[in-house]
Symmetry: C2
Subunit: 356 residues, 2 copies
């Protein structure tokens, strides 16, 4: 990212942006889906669903926590009628429940949070897409992959996914500031045949599509100034990610996740995720042991150089904490990140228990 | 910006964001206006006017080019009825014309592009605000300051401005990727008393106001992940800008602009701006001499290490070029930017003429 400030029409920058768009297809294992890379956050990716929603469209949110709730709220702003299919904290709605709901009513869109950052629960997006498409092939399957792209298995074309929303700052390993949306040609057709105008200016794909097409054709274009330095960083990271096969990247994340989860089990800790099957590979949400507070454990680990997060789910935020294990912490084991976190966590728990 | 990746809730980052919000008030010479700093571009600032617009609200755009046209288009997406008060290329609508239009109809909002980047025309925002407020004190005066904040005189409170929209990448001297909006308490009251819900999710101030308030109180909060590294860069730049008085900064930009404009006049070149009074201090738009093309002059200067831009106004884009002179190029004369640009331009013109 430490590149000199250059114009977004600079001949050096244009191919960087263009190639980043192409590389996103490789990361998501898709031939012809359309990437959008826009200055903003992951939340802006939700906002871009305004392009696929018209007033009174029915949407089903396969909900595993905080992010499902808020994605649904976003869609309602744009006129969608949102139904939530929920599950208890730490688990996910079953495919049988999904099938039943889909049989009862026709939905234009089904959304699913791949990894709910608030609980560390992993959705079965392959299964969800299969169920949806078998009952209603035209329904748009939207995956919120903010906390999953780059760390969890996603096979966009093979699994019949229509939209993946993500952001720069998680397993793509880039500082925050880019909202990224990748859209199937099926969804682009639905977008192009909408009957009412898109209810947003900044999120409007009619504005962004010519820009993405231009940069991919190695020509500059202007709607809003792109975040040049962040796109340089994205380009570097996407080159690193695609230097190995995505299969081997998925496997690395799985291995490290298993190692980490075994280690916390040995420390006597319990995950929010109720089983291995529903646990994310890029992060772990962990119940606090009795007598330990978020306000103790976070600073104690920070003092050891380890940054973790408190809880986020509104029903139990004070009762758990979250640790990420993704990106270079996984793919560059020589950094020793994972071992350091495990050791520091063990020491911190010992210290806090001896104080209690 | 080259700070290690930190979380947006990191105790080191929280005061950086909080102080940046406070420093923006100093730059704009306002005591109590409300800044919003959001991952996005300057265009997102336009989008945020959705907070002040309800369906069928009347808006007057004091139009000096490309950016007035598109700002108007953005407001129409959110239901505004937009009237454009236009002027020929290179000039600006007179205050007399403005007065006449305002006397004929009541407008909820008047927008004015402070510096239209497409033409280098400077609006008289002090005069515009004075005319608007004298006829209709409740009308919201919105200044598009993307190409003016940090290089042109703006006295937010004294001049009775309600909204200034800007972005990180111009005279604030930060890489692109932050949309910035500063809003008067008068406009915040109008926002708070609106009758219909805000028609946007990502741009909704009901979401962002608690975040800005929290960070200013040195507490973290979450709606969407902030662009942490860009905010570090913004903080550094705002500290540098406010280390001197804004008056002296305005004067420096005026001096350098005069020097630059005198130099191009001596080279036999003519500005788009029809008089000194309507010419921006942070940039100059210049008609191409006969026989010289944009496609000749841009690469010739690039080869000398000088990056300039072609035309942007749809009616005459191929006939002119634009040169920025703002920020550190002005306040740090030891860099020699301005002299280098003048010399390179003189050499390039000589080369191109000898070829012709």
């Amino acid at each position: 990212m430490s590149t000199p400030a250059t114009s977004h029409v600079d001949p050096l920058f244009v191919p960087i942006f263009g190639e980043s768009i192409e590389l996103l297809r490789k990361v998501l294992l898709t031939k012809d889906a359309q990437p959008f890379v826009v200055a903003g956050s992951g939340t802006l990716g939700w906002d871009m669903m305004v392009n696929l929603i018209e007033r009174d469209d029915e949407v089903l949110v396969v909900n595993t926590g905080y992010f499902g709730d808020h994605f649904g709220e976003c869609l309602e702003v744009y006129g969608a009628k949102v139904t939530h299919l929920r599950a208890p904290i730490g688990s996910r709605p079953s495919l049988e429940d999904l099938e039943q709901v889909l049989t009862g009513k026709k939905y234009k869109m089904v959304t699913v949070t791949h990894v709910d950052t608030s609980t560390g629960v992993l959705a079965d997006i392959k299964g969800v897409a299969k169920v949806v498409k078998s009952i209603s092939p035209e329904t748009i399957v939207v995956v919120d992959g903010v906390c999953s792209v780059g760390s969890e298995e996603i096979r966009f074309d093979e699994w019949n996914i229509d939209v993946v929303i993500t952001a720069s700052q998680k397993a793509l390993g880039v500082p925050p500031g880019l909202g990224i949306v990748v859209t199937s040609q099926h969804a682009m057709q639905i977008f192009k045949s909408r009957k009412t105008p898109v209810a947003s200016y900044y999120s409007n794909w009619n504005k962004w599509l010519p820009i993405m097409n231009a940069y991919e054709a190695r020509k500059p274009a202007y709607f809003a100034t792109p975040a040049v330095q962040l796109i340089y960083a994205l380009h570097t990271s996407l080159k690193q990610i695609t230097a190995q096969s995505m299969d081997s990247r998925f496997e690395q994340h799985h291995q490290v996740s298993q190692k980490f989860k075994n280690a916390i089990t040995e420390l006597g800790l319990k995950q929010l995720a109720v089983s291995d099957e529903v646990a994310a590979n890029g992060m772990t949400a962990i119940w606090l042991p009795d007598g330990v507070q978020v306000s103790d454990i976070v600073p104690s680990l920070a003092a050891k150089g380890v940054q973790i997060a408190g809880g986020l789910h509104k029903e139990c935020a004070a009762k758990y904490f979250r640790i990420g294990h993704m990106g270079i912490s996984v793919t560059e084991p020589q950094r020793g990140h994972i071992d350091k976190v495990i050791e520091s966590l063990a020491t911190t728990l010992k210290e806090l228990k001896s104080k209690a």
